[in-house]
Symmetry: C2
Amino acid sequence: MSDLLVVGSVALDSVETPFGKVQEALGGSATYFSYSASFFTAVHLVATVGEDFPEAHLKLLADRGVDIRGLQTSKGRTFRWTGQYGYDLNEAKTLETQLNVFAEFRPVLNDVSGRTPFLFLANIDPELQLDVLRQMKERPKLVALDTMNFWIQGKREALRKVLAEVDVVTVNDGEARQLASEPNLIRAARAISAMGPKTVVVKRGEYGALLSTEDRLFFVPAYPLESVYDPTGAGDTFAGGFMGYLARSGDLSDANLRRAVIYGSAMGSFAVEKFSIGRLLEVTKPELAARVADFRRLVAFEEEL
Amino acid sequence: MSDLLVVGSVALDSVETPFGKVQEALGGSATYFSYSASFFTAVHLVATVGEDFPEAHLKLLADRGVDIRGLQTSKGRTFRWTGQYGYDLNEAKTLETQLNVFAEFRPVLNDVSGRTPFLFLANIDPELQLDVLRQMKERPKLVALDTMNFWIQGKREALRKVLAEVDVVTVNDGEARQLASEPNLIRAARAISAMGPKTVVVKRGEYGALLSTEDRLFFVPAYPLESVYDPTGAGDTFAGGFMGYLARSGDLSDANLRRAVIYGSAMGSFAVEKFSIGRLLEVTKPELAARVADFRRLVAFEEEL
């Protein structure tokens, strides 16, 4: 079992979907990621919050065993995001973004986090992602990176620079096409691989996920939920399951990457069942195992006799 | 091996995609369906064309062994459709529809077609679909129906009436949601089942297909093509493979329905590789077998040791 480091955001999210709403709930990429990954391995979190950040939220992560010593409390208010989803839950409409202390976030690794063998660079400025890589005292065994349209458009060069140094990238359909300037998703994944990351994971929301490696392609459907309440954080929860599973096993073979995608998908499917990390707080190991088993049933077919 | 009857359209399609265009190429739901199904079983076609319909097109179907005695040649011009696709190949933009002789189409079954054990009611007016069912001298072993938003919106009652009498319905995502008035796809499929058809096949274009039966759900991804030239007819080609496979085996078990979805997906993946039925003309049985084997590799993952 190897330790896992995530550098990203911790936020207060206000979200409205057709099924309800929450005000200033615990959110942020590093939150979802670390909570999800904590099912599998020891997680270190590097992020920043303001002085107004509720103590109870910190406790949720700490109780889960997440190492939050890298969570800086900065002078000012915590990063806030306000978003809305319509019936097409694949697309969030951002109503307001208050960066607050996140605008001045400069990740600082210490002697422990700087030697973590598994690293997830959550969706932050690619210049900061590169800075984190530079702070690593040893090259991690596996580095994964998440990004978004904002950086692909606005900081393409910096993004290309950090991409050249990572092993795995996680993006959604549209981001993959935008990053590669290629409408065909399979060719887009290949083009992104040529930029550096040998493994490309495309998150496709209600359509599941695609894993593209040197060897082959692997598809997994989304878990067929009858009630999706809030897709916020699903991608980061997926990444937490994916990286957590890999860190726990230490096995980076193609076969294990596929299994990691299944575990990531299972974790992501829990995330959307309640607002914030509400559903993740309840998940048990037997529930997770049952959902993983369901994934096999969803795609299995027997050959003709 | 059982015979299979399709009632639908034979058309001349003019299509433009980012990758090229064709003028008055062979098209129509019954065309794609019957050509695809002919890989598996004996197919009878009931449709109508105008006096202007090229003899060469008829020959393509006849050479393939499709029984075209039910293809009426009516006074007037053949049904013509002109459409365009952008880079999002999931959505066709209809530029022009000339119904011509198709506007007056009244399917007439004869003593052979009226006793066919497998029936596919392609996308036509639900009143005609019901009329075909009424003309069957024996209730077929399996009846499948395809429809579209136009009928769901404009002829909902007639559609509900025929749906109550069929076994399988094939629709796309949006149509499933519209038909069920339900944004969640899994609940939509269940709601459609409650209208009659025990089996619901949702065609999701580049996202594959979903099979919903009483027992369970089954997902298959789309075949990862690097070059998609023209999606026209993919759904009907899928249906041809699906129904053809079932008619050949005569086995309507859940396990066999899943296999049929794989064969349908394989056939559909060929259809989009060239304009019109161009690619289908070339497909060999070993090619089909190889593609079916690929589908297993695309979703297979081994359990943890």
